[in-house]
Amino acid sequence: MMKTLYIKSPVEEAITKKLRTGDQVFISGVVYVGRDAAHKKIIDALDHGKSLPFELKGQTIYYMGPAPAKPGQPIGAAGPTTGGRMDAYSPRLLAEGLKVMIGKGTRSPAVKDAIKKYRGVYMAATGGAGALISKSVKKSEIAAYPELGTEAILRLEVEDFSAIVINDIYGGDLYQEEQAKYRNAIR
């Protein structure tokens, strides 16, 4: 049964037990933004024992690279980018305590296994709905790697950020489950 949940980020350790594939989630609190180049830098920092731009434990990473903010706005269009490009990095981050990943599109079997093992969760925001999603962002600042420009790590404060649980700790996969229902359903 799909439910609607309102959660705070960073998340509590136990929260991922409650989240099931298909649940509608509204997130409020702090969310970090990072995509390909930022992930590469975080992994590099971990490999070389350097300090991380933020404490990973309990955190949420949103795969996104925003459009520039107009004057008076916290951010421009801010929709998700493809999660699969972060597959190579995610298991390591989950092992380090990352809890929530938000993007769009399917994840690799290795990421799904890591979600189960380290009790994380992968959610999708609506791809291509960047203008709409920007309205749930209340504040945005550069947290690390400003040299990456639109790929820098941002610290967002969000309010009722809408996402749907795709992969949960029980091995559920919303894409597979929902697509199977409509496969060969020619109208």
Binding site: P66, A67, G127, G128, G130, A131, I133, T150, R183
Partner: protein
Amino acid sequence: MKIRNIRAQKITKTVARLCQEANYFLPNDVHRALKQAHKTEESPLGRQTLDRILANAQLATEEKMAMCQDCGIAVVYLEIGQDTHITGGNLYEAINEGVRQGYEQGYLRKSMVRQPYSARVNTQDNTPAVIHTDIIPGDKLKITVMPKGGGSENMSRLFMLTPGQGRSGIIEVVLRTVNEAGSNPCPPVIVGVGIGGTAEMAMALAKKATLRPLGSVNSNPENVRLEKELTKRVNALGIGPEGLGGQTTALAVHIELFPTHIASLPIAVSLQCHAARQKEAIL
């Protein structure tokens, strides 16, 4: 015959405006097709996703803001009348200057990086544009700006089939491409299929096919039948809006043909996301 002068500055100004309008305003035909899909879609998650896509388009229009943060590579199609003469500057420089101004003034994301396989340093102004040029009869210049997002562009495919694989081979690779792309290209997509020519010609045709207005009829009756069959079968894949399941995976399949070599059957597939942005002007 008279030569008509067109000033490079006018081209720059026009391209700057087109970059912004394309990113703010979803074309009417795409809007209509999404609304129609919402009426027929049976998947609750699919309908909910279409609701959000339509609400997003409306908000972007009202606030004149980018509908998607990926404001794309600026793909620019030129149809240059052979009786025109560009004055006061270099044509391609004029276009790139337009992209530069349009993306900066329009609060659009600059996504171009130099040296693709190593440094990947952002060019900071979304140039260079990818420019396609056709010379046509007449004394007009038609400019079409198509901001193309990376998520959908990454799902493009080219297949060099053997002539024997024919129609069924084409159906197979189109279905394979859309199926493997899944939720990545932000469905519901417009599927552009380029068949024939050479490898690069097929790819160019495929992308150009996604520009054809939704609801327009292919001029070739055999293509009409193949488009119909492909649309039905793509939508039977179950992928649905944003891959969350449903019957709306493609808003349309568009085919463009070119004659080809006796040994060849090139087929290219280009997917355009539901934020199917394009804007044109005729000078």
